[in-house]
């Protein structure tokens, strides 16, 4: 049996304890983001804001990754990088994370 390592998108989606809820928010997030978004492109957008980009997503421990993303979410709210998803005011980073969860 050959194990297939999880993709970066899988790692990010796996941060959510309730995948069904994350997918539900993710579907709405995809509509808010507009256009055809691939999981890979969304991962790139998330990675761009992280130190070492995709390498961090692939290699950081789950706790570290969660902390880094939480800091991004916090910064988004502080800097006004907020997207409207059905009226909900969400961080642009978390919107992408939810969208990734809906695509994987």
């Amino acid at each position: 049996v050959r194990l297939i390592p999880p993709t970066d998108a899988d790692r990010l989606a796996g941060l959510f304890s309730d995948r069904a809820s994350a997918r539900a928010v993710g579907r709405a997030s995809l509509r808010a983001l507009g256009g055809d978004r691939s999981a890979s492109a969304l991962v790139d957008e998330v990675a761009a804001a992280l130190p070492d980009g995709r390498r961090t997503i692939a290699g950081a421990s789950e706790d570290d990754l969660r902390e880094l993303l939480a800091a991004r979410v916090r910064d988004d709210f502080g800097s006004g990088s907020i997207l409207d998803v059905q009226g909900w005011q969400l961080s642009s980073t978390e919107v992408r994370l939810y969208a990734i969860a809906a695509l994987v």
Partner: protein
């Protein structure tokens, strides 16, 4: 002393040293300040000591602007005036409320807090406030509950103090004192129907008074104070046209314009990251002897940076349906229902799912503010239940039992699970000359034209609320408290259906040094008149962030000091 206007001889010409029109918060405060002096004060009050439907009917008039309360409901035409249904909410205006803000047209009072602070200190005594300080930090230190740790420096916690219910009515508070005052005569059922002036129009010579029973007489004095509220003050000025074709004080067409309220509506909700989010701090509750009502507001620095007026938010938790139901129950089923208050409903659309997952992104700051969201029944509520008649008691008991049930639940189970938090936005409207009181073609029982209200708000007001909600969303999201949904669209053609005021009728005889920009001068004297003053919230040039009653009292105390000098 009290006198019945119907007992005055018909066509009598009464005299006094000071004549006050209206016995509400302003009129009573003014009259009290002269008790024991040599000044003979005549107070002309339309109502009696008790509510009377026929008298209240004189307040009716058409609303032709934004939907507003029927004009006979936000005020009371009786001794004590609108304090008879006052909610008792107090917070003084701050320096920014009084300041001229370049980004807000028509803003700026002729004076600021340095002028008003001494009068506020006296006003606190008049309204029976238990607490004597306004520092949010001081209240937080004393409280067992705490504010949410909202992120950033664009929002702040504000704390209103609530006058205990037993002390809100000026009729109850000061009726006996007025009754015993030999130099103050309050004429009850005395409606002023016209302010008459000399031919030059610069001095009031007498007031025409009528009763609903048909009596007529006049009252003359060296000085007059008009104190009948934000709608009746302009109404009486506009209806007094003997030597002023457009009404007294209206040479520049300003009387009745700039009608202000404190508009509010539900502008959104918060999906909490934690079910047991502690929001009890934001409910009206007691610290020691003082009842407080904390709110969240946009900071003054953020308002300046954004070019916006004041916006503040009331946070109301929405509990599980079972709890809500239990709160309305009257029997042991309430307790059973509370035990099953675990379902999570009410957020709608993606809110429930969102509330589930946002906690996964908040490991940096998981927090629970401890505390019981629902207060123990206030002693005065219990006292009220015991005092009233058995019939009225029945209507009070369900609410009392609900509180008791909730209190017991919190002791047994910890915090009550919060489904969501409703965000009600209240904002300071931009002064708007098109928002106005005019005279209707309809007439009341006394033959006076009824007031007509054309309440208007602007697109700038809509933008302020929207921007305020966005700022709140950043503070809530950035702190990990939860996420905000904005349910209001500033680009919608109409205002939300639940848009309402706060029973705060302001701005219609605004204060300004320049007669072309205000109806009264900084002393409250009507521009162009030598002896007619106006008291009350109609002189407010801006609505401010605090509720008006304490400022009405403070301004009236300031006016009484001025009059004591002028009448010497």
């Amino acid at each position: 002393v009290f006198a019945e206007a119907n007992g005055v001889q018909r066509d009598a010409a009464l005299n006094a040293d000071l004549c006050v029109i209206g016995a509400g918060a302003a009129g009573i405060t003014l009259a009290r300040s002269f008790i024991g002096t040599s000044v003979r004060v005549a107070v002309l009050e339309s109502g009696g000591l008790q509510f009377d439907t026929a008298t209240q009917d004189l307040y009716k008039g058409p609303n032709v602007g934004l939907p507003y309360f029927p004009l006979d409901t936000p005020r009371l035409r009786m001794f004590g005036g609108t304090t008879n249904h006052w909610a008792g909410v107090c917070r003084p205006f701050d320096e920014a409320d009084f300041a001229k803000r370049a980004w807000i047209p028509y803003s700026g009072w002729p004076f600021g807090t340095s002028e008003m602070d001494p009068y506020y200190a006296r006003a606190e005594q008049v309204v029976h406030l238990q607490g004597d300080h306004w520092s949010t930090q001081d209240w937080v230190k004393q409280d067992t509950l705490g504010p949410l740790p909202l992120a950033g420096d664009q929002v702040e916690t504000r704390v209103d103090q609530i006058v205990p219910e037993a002390f809100r009515s000026f009729s109850t508070d000061y009726g006996d004192q007025i009754k015993a005052a030999s130099n103050v005569t309050v004429y009850l059922d005395a409606n002023v129907t016209e302010i008459e002036t000399d031919p030059s129009g610069a001095a009031v010579t007498r007031l025409r008074v009528a009763t609903l029973s048909g009596n007529r007489f006049t009252v003359a004095a060296p000085a007059y104070v008009l104190a009948v509220g934000g709608i009746e003050n302009p109404r009486l000025l506009l209806a007094s046209r003997q030597h002023h074709p457009n009404g007294i004080g209206n040479d520049h067409g300003l009387v009745g314009r700039f009608f202000l309220e404190h508009p509010r509506f539900i502008a959104g909700m918060i999906a909490p990251a934690e079910r047991n989010l502690g929001v009890g701090f934001y409910l009206q509750h007691r610290i020691g002897q003082t009842i407080i009502q904390p709110r969240v507001g946009i900071t003054r620095s953020a308002q300046q940076a954004e070019g916006m007026a004041d916006v503040q938010f009331t946070l109301d938790p929405v509990y599980d349906p079972a709890l809500q139901q239990a709160n309305q129950s009257t029997d042991v089923a309430a307790m059973k229902a509370l035990r099953h208050a675990i379902a999570r409903h009410g957020l709608g659309d993606i809110g429930s799912e969102l509330s589930t997952v946002i906690g996964d992104l908040m490991t940096w700051d998981r927090f629970v503010v401890p505390g019981a969201p629902l207060p123990v029944p206030y002693p005065e509520v219990v006292g009220e239940v015991m005092r009233v008649t058995p019939r009225d008691r029945q209507s009070l008991i369900p609410g009392l039992l609900g509180d008791v049930a909730s209190f017991v639940y919190t002791r047994m189970e910890g915090n009550i699970p919060v489904n969501s938090v409703t965000v009600t936005a209240r904002f300071e409207p931009i002064p708007n000359p098109d928002s106005r009181v005019t005279l209707s073609t309809e007439r009341d029982e006394l033959g006076m034209p009824r007031a007509e209200l054309d309440w208007q708000l602007s697109d700038a007001d809509k933008h302020n609320v929207e921007r305020g909600m966005q700022i709140l969303a950043g503070a809530v999201g950035g702190s990990g408290v939860g996420r905000v949904k904005i349910t209001f669209d500033e680009h919608a053609s109409s205002w939300p259906a639940d848009l309402a005021g706060g029973y705060h009728l302001m701005g219609t005889t605004r204060m300004h040094e320049d007669p072309r920009r205000g109806v009264v001068d900084p002393d409250g004297l009507v521009h162009g008149m030598s002896n007619l003053y106006i008291a009350g919230s109609s002189v407010f040039p801006t609505a401010g962030s605090g509720n008006p009653t304490m400022l009405i009292v403070a301004l009236t105390l300031r006016l009484s000091d001025h009059l004591k000098g002028a009448l010497r």
